[in-house]
Symmetry: C2
Subunit: 167 residues, 2 copies
Amino acid sequence: MNARPDPDQATPAFAAHDHRACEARALDEAEGRLARQGGRMTPVRRRTLEILLESHRAMGAYEVLDRLAAEGFGRQPPVAYRALDFLVEHGLAHRLQRLNAFAACLHPGQDHAPAFLICRACDTLAELPAPPVHAALSDLAAETGFAVERATIEAVGLCPACAGAPA
Amino acid sequence: MNARPDPDQATPAFAAHDHRACEARALDEAEGRLARQGGRMTPVRRRTLEILLESHRAMGAYEVLDRLAAEGFGRQPPVAYRALDFLVEHGLAHRLQRLNAFAACLHPGQDHAPAFLICRACDTLAELPAPPVHAALSDLAAETGFAVERATIEAVGLCPACAGAPA
DNA sequence: GATTGACTTGTTATCATGTAACATGAAAGG
DNA sequence: CCTTTCATGTTACATGATAACAAGTCAATC
């Protein structure tokens, strides 16, 4: 129930902190991680990670690309996408995803706190009422002082049918 | 603990069911809802909803657009987007969102079950370790027989700073 | 130290997704 | 009938993402 554990561990992003150190530590860990995993930390990749680390914000690939181009790296989309993909693959960055797709609502009217289950084999989508999950999320967020207004909860996996009969 | 409550209420999407009835019921409820809310159920909108209801799948806007165009409606993107937005606004469809953006990972190495908190005012993003939320989601999913492999949990709201000093 | 092979970077071209801005058309209300 | 409002349609563009290919780098071996 301690809302502020070791700041080095929990890094709330909202709290005031020594960002320079925060950045340096992440870069440091990255180097170590890559050394152990055999990945190569090249200039573009390092710079890309630094750019991402500058702010506690999610950035679009093209925003990153602009920065890279301004510093003499290639100005074509693949340059940024490749560096970003590399970082994600090695656990150094996250991709915040969106499906950009629509589905009919099967529970209109009921109070809405849905979660979505998407089968990666047959693309079937199930909408579940998920108040407990939303509650768990809101509680966690509240510990950092964040007020959740809307939440997106999507799971990818295998539906019973596809799990039973893998193609 | 009943894995199969009233099928009319829980509609698992994965279970065998009378889809014709399922579709009809949703359309029916939609009409009622719009009548109460004052929304207008026009031909494009109705057709769009029907298309979405045909399958338990999420569809891309351009996929819907192709269908609409083939049936004599406009063939420009806004036609589909407007109909879909309308349905979403009136609670008749969901938009499965993802941010399509990147952020540096602040907890590399730790076992990863993160949730993201995105402040809508300052765009600051916090990454939280959220095993309880993932656990709650997996438990819920397991009740339908779905095996979660990856989950995306994103919350939009106000960070403490922006909540305290609303611009 | 030359050669090979894997990997990285860069390019061009194209596709997919989403929106802004404006013109026309139908419908409800006075 | 006229006005206001909302729906539909268009063109044009912004943004996000990838395929396919050419060239450079680097380490390891022969």
